[in-house]
């Protein structure tokens, strides 16, 4: 087996496991307790895993120019964290 088909086979079997993990994360968002901090934790974990998944997907689909999407996703999810934390602390945003 040459290198290319080896990598492709491995990553193809990695994809459904990632999708299963995403499905379990989203199912967590619809269970009680559903307060705001719990939801923020789940959205965080989902987005960080999605960033890793996008990088793996760009190797699998041979499209190397789609890498900056992962970086942008990680940065803006951090911003979402800060907004919600500052709202809960009821300070001024800024």
């Amino acid at each position: 087996m040459d290198l290319e088909s080896w990598v492709t086979t491995f990553l193809s079997y990695a994809i459904p496991l990632y999708l299963l993990a995403f499905a379990i994360y989203v199912a967590r968002m619809f269970r009680e307790p559903r307060r705001v901090p719990d939801l923020v934790l789940v959205v965080d974990a989902l987005s960080y895993d999605l960033a890793a998944f996008l990088v793996i997907l760009s190797i699998l689909l041979r499209t190397p120019i789609t890498i900056p999407c992962a970086i942008a996703l990680v940065l803006w999810i951090y911003a979402l964290d800060i907004y919600v934390a500052k709202y809960l602390e009821s300070k001024e945003l800024g």
Binding site: L61, R62, T63, I65, T66
Partner: protein
Amino acid sequence: MVGDPKTLVALIVLFSLYANLGASMYGVIARKNLVKKLICLTMLGDTVNVFAILVGYRLSRGGTPVPPVFTEWSKASEKLLANFVSRSVDPLPQALVLTAIVINLAVTIFLATLILYTHRHFGTVEMDRVSEMKKGELVDEVEVS
């Protein structure tokens, strides 16, 4: 016919997007809170953008589709160019959606400002109360004049 995986996935995607469209239109029309209307309006715009992107997508015969960025040009590469053209998705809907997202952002910020001034004027953002108060104001104006 539905047993074909491509047709099945296309049906799933279309029905999901129609469900999103219907749910967010219900939110825009039937919910009384103005902030909830604003959230539903952003989701409605995003769903319409997904529809526009979905028009430009296609499944090529020679493998997976690629984004419309051509990276490996050289002088003797007509074959590369032909391969790229046969595989890439349509860039025109992407350019249109890029504009639409930014205009949606501007409209949303404008509506947020209007909601903020509604709250300062009436003290509430519930649509029923606002209309009751506006009725009262109209009666006052008529009595004064």
